[in-house]
């Protein structure tokens, strides 16, 4: 035994001290537990996070599902609502938040109790016919949303002075390539960061010095305008805030996160927090637009440039740029996730192989569906002379119309004793759930009848 051996290579001898790591990091104190009357300190156990950390660990699917509502279509609808009716539609957001939280919670609960996606459950419980019907609804609802996202991409780049006819096809190709090549997860964070540009809305809302009294009144006192524009926006708000896609996404995300039925209780917090945050954001969009545009008498938003003015209190002449970056991020994010999630859940219904790691031979159906969605979305968004904001609002209205179908399926499934066991809906949830369904259905019926009557020249409601 000499010093010629490098450290750690000495022949092992009684006197040899094994090499200690040069500096020991601070080691967690571990958890002291009692096993059969013997107390041991175990550092290998995960410490259950406590306090604020505990809540942070739970947050996840709900926040993402919630913010998915604030995409291109959402911004258009909230801006239009704020510009046209000032603070008068804020109470709708308050009401919707309750409905949304209830609906999303039921979706999350379905996911945790069964470990399955919504369309998958519909296939197994209601058979092939109903599941194809549901798939049809989802294809239409998500299809138009995807068009909406590409419209959002186009509108954002036009604000920056670039032609949408160049960027939309480019974005479609890039998104398709990123997802199919499996490197999407890496760029997702960039899109998210860009979408954070919309955090300027709350700041802008405060800097615009709205009359907070009026804001509070608008949020609490239901003010109803008897006009077809109001009822149209009402359905649009419902459709953009409570989207079929959000329920499907929430359920898949809960399944994917691996939430089991026995740990479901605390996951509720995630859903509630996510929905409240998302709707708070929506409310700030309405307030910011109302306080900047509505008050000066600009009551119709015709383009993205108009909507961007709501950010002027915070960004001044850079309002358009800030708005464009936020819109581009949010639209790119949803533009990739929506076709992907749709292809995923539809493949699941038919039992076809799914996932982005498949090649075209094995994942023919999955990848074709994804590709068709991206192409269709991009092509339809390039229709020349498309009225951007109107198109986006109508897309949300269409989603609102399709919402009751998905809600019925969710409510039936979540009351299925064999499926849900003790996680079945309580009476309160059923009242709130069916209540939401009734509210949405009544609003849609009124909207459709006024539109139809309007089309044949009968105006029941004002302008």
């Amino acid at each position: 035994m000499t010093t010629t051996h490098p450290t750690g290579m000495e022949p092992v001898a009684p006197a040899t001290q094994p090499p200690r790591p040069p500096e020991l990091r601070r080691i967690s104190p571990g958890i002291r537990i009692n096993i059969r009357g013997r107390s041991v300190r175990l550092r290998g156990l995960r410490r259950t996070p406590s306090g604020p950390l505990r809540w942070l660990a739970i947050l996840g699917p709900g926040i993402i599902a919630g913010s998915a509502g604030n995409d291109a279509g959402g911004i258009a609808t909230y801006s239009q609502a704020g510009a046209k009716f000032g603070y008068d539609m804020l109470w709708v957001i308050v009401l919707i938040t309750l409905s949304l939280a209830v609906v999303q919670e039921m979706s999350a609960r379905l996911g945790a109790a069964t470990g399955r996606g919504l369309l998958d459950l519909i296939r197994e419980r209601f058979g092939i016919g109903w599941s194809l019907f549901a798939v049809g609804i989802v294809l239409v609802a998500n299809g138009v949303l995807i068009v909406g996202e590409f419209i959002g991409i186009g509108a954002a780049v036009e604000l920056l002075g670039i032609s949408r006819y160049v960027v939309i096809p480019g974005a479609a190709v890039v998104l398709w390539y990123l997802v199919v090549k499996g490197s999407y997860a890496r760029v997702e964070k960039v899109f998210l960061l860009m979408a954070l540009g919309f955090l300027a809305y709350p700041v802008s809302a405060i800097l615009a010095h709205p009359q907070w009294g009026a804001v509070a009144r608008g949020a609490v006192v239901p003010t109803i305008h008897f006009s077809s524009a109001y009822i149209l926006l009402f359905v649009g708000l419902l459709g953009t805030t409570i989207t079929p896609y959000q329920q499907i996404f929430q359920q898949s995300a809960v399944v994917d996160k691996g939430v089991a039925r026995r740990h479901y209780g605390e996951e509720r917090i995630d859903t509630y927090v996510g929905m409240v945050l998302s709707d708070l954001m929506s409310a700030f969009m309405i307030i910011a637009t109302a306080a900047t545009l509505h008050v000066v008498g600009k009551t119709n938003i015709g383009s993205a440039a108009d909507a961007a003015q709501a950010l002027e209190p915070v960004a001044g002449r850079f309002a358009a740029a800030l708005f464009a970056v936020g819109l581009l991020g949010a639209s790119l994010l949803a533009g990739a996730v929506l076709p992907l999630a749709t292809a995923f859940s539809v493949s699941e219904v038919f039992g076809f192989p799914k996932g982005v790691n498949l090649d075209f031979r094995r994942g023919k159906f999955f990848l074709s569906l994804f590709t068709v969605f991206v192409i269709l979305g991009a092509v339809l968004a390039m229709i020349p002379g498309l009225p951007v904001i109107q198109a986006l609002v109508w897309i949300q209205v269409l989603n609102g119309i399709l919402l009751p179908v998905i809600l019925v399926f969710i409510l039936l499934l979540v009351n299925d004793r064999r499926l849900m066991g003790d996680l079945r809906n309580t009476r309160l949830y059923n009242v709130l759930g069916w209540g939401t369904l009734t509210l949405v259905s009544v609003a849609i019926t009124i909207m459709i009848s006024t539109q139809l009557l309007g089309a044949v020249g009968v105006h029941v409601l004002g302008g």
Binding site: I35, G44, A260
Partner: protein, 414 residues
């Protein structure tokens, strides 16, 4: 071959001419081609009733009807939605089933039955898209399945992890697949079905399968298992795998499970759990084979023969002063041991120059050394010179491999 979707459009007629429609079929899943044991039927606006298969006189395929003895409907109605039996339409049709020959999960788009003698047996699953078209068009469009999956190579799961312990029948052919393949199949299943699958495997296979599952899936499945089953399986797993699993449980659960483990297994697991998961102690195994240096090769072979049944790492035999102090002296490979003369001493043929690891060294740093060393494992030695265990190259690769390799399935919703 008759399709289930066709059978559901058949009619029931009894000897006195009463008519009814079949609603569903009960089945006994114990056999390779399980026989239909009875049918649920209903007459317009009446309750659903059960008819045992023995009461079916014949299956008239030309006139598309079942001829049965008596449809007077005097027996008690059954509640179709809560019936505990396996029903073909309600449970099996449209379900996700495992195709053992193609080793994938597939949708039972239609079921093919075979009438032979007086019996009706479930013969195959049609998972093709044609089956969907055929069902929607009521048989007008679509052709017969090109390659139906023979039911004897299909495993049907109920989504109830407790079912296999309640004497419910399964095909159980899946038990012939290797554990890695079963774990891979399981990733495509909802977690309740995955837990059910683990429960129906024989204990040793179930333990091996649990070991190779992805950590998140493993935890999910483990928590769904019945406690006695869970303890039985854990006792059969390698101690380092158990420590990883228990380390992810909540403290109260960990305390409870550790208390229930067999004492020897518990000691090993607790020893590993003393170290944080991102240190050498957190990734090592402490199930290693040891011999004293004073033993002759002949004695050494006898000594290790009793130890090599369970450890994963058997190729490296560590030489320790005595079993009480476990002071590390050197290492000897199984090859050297087999090639040496029987009367040589272990101390003379062993390799005394060892790279050793300290249990509190950061895991990634140590893992890199293991990979760089080109050896199967490096021993872990405590401050007092005591052999604590070894970090195998398997464990090391998991630490140094890029994130994207560790999970070969990219997560869509990540």
């Amino acid at each position: 071959m008759i399709l289930l979707s066709q059978l559901l459009r058949y009619e029931l007629i009894d000897r006195s001419g009463r008519r009814a429609v079949p609603v569903d079929f009960t089945i006994d899943l114990g056999a390779d081609h399980p026989p239909v044991t009875g049918l649920l039927w209903r007459r317009a606006r009446e309750a659903t009733r059960f008819l045992p298969w023995e009461a079916v006189d014949s299956l008239d395929r030309d006139r598309q009807r079942f001829v049965v003895a008596d449809l007077s409907g005097d027996d008690t109605p059954v509640e179709e939605s809560t019936d505990r039996r396996v029903l073909l339409r309600r449970d099996v049709l449209d379900a996700l089933v495992i195709d053992l020959s193609a080793r994938r999960a597939m949708r039972a788009n239609d079921l093919m039955l075979e009438a032979e003698g007086g019996a009706l047996r479930l013969a195959a699953v049609d998972a093709s898209a044609w089956a969907v078209l055929r069902r929607l068009s009521r048989g007008v469009v679509g052709h017969d399945a090109d390659e139906p999956s023979d039911w004897s190579y299909v495993e049907f799961l109920r989504g109830d992890p407790q079912a296999p312990t309640c004497g419910v029948d399964y095909n159980r052919r899946i038990t012939r697949l290797p554990p890695g393949e079963i774990a891979r199949l399981m990733e495509a299943l909802p977690y309740l079905e995955a837990a059910e699958l683990v429960t129906l495997l024989p204990d040793a296979l179930a333990a091996d399968t649990l070991e190779v599952m992805s950590p998140q899936r493993q935890l999910q499945v483990f928590e769904e298992l019945d406690e006695t089953v869970a303890i039985r399986l854990v006792a059969l797993m390698a101690p380092d795998a158990v420590a990883d699993l228990v380390g992810h449980l909540r403290a109260e659960m960990a305390e409870r499970y550790l208390g229930l483990l067999p004492p020897e297994c518990r000691e090993r697991v607790v020893d590993l759990l003393r170290y944080p998961e991102d240190t050498v102690g957190g990734i090592m195994t402490n199930d290693v084979v040891v011999v004293p240096p004073s033993a002759t090769i002949g004695q050494a072979v006898d000594i290790i023969r009793g130890q090599v049944a369970t450890p994963d790492l058997v190729y490296y035999v560590y030489v320790v002063e005595d079993l009480a102090s476990r002071e590390l002296r050197g290492m000897i490979t199984l090859r050297t041991l087999l090639l040496a003369e029987v009367d040589q001493r272990v101390a003379d043929v062993m390799d005394p120059y060892l790279v050793t690891l300290h249990p509190l060294t950061p895991a990634r740093e140590a893992a890199q050394r293991v990979v760089d060393s080109q050896l199967f494992a490096l021993p872990v030695v405590g401050a007092d010179g005591r052999l604590l265990g070894a970090v195998t190259v398997d464990a090391a690769v998991l630490q140094v491999a890029p994130e994207s390799w560790r999970k070969d399935v990219p997560r869509v919703f990540a």
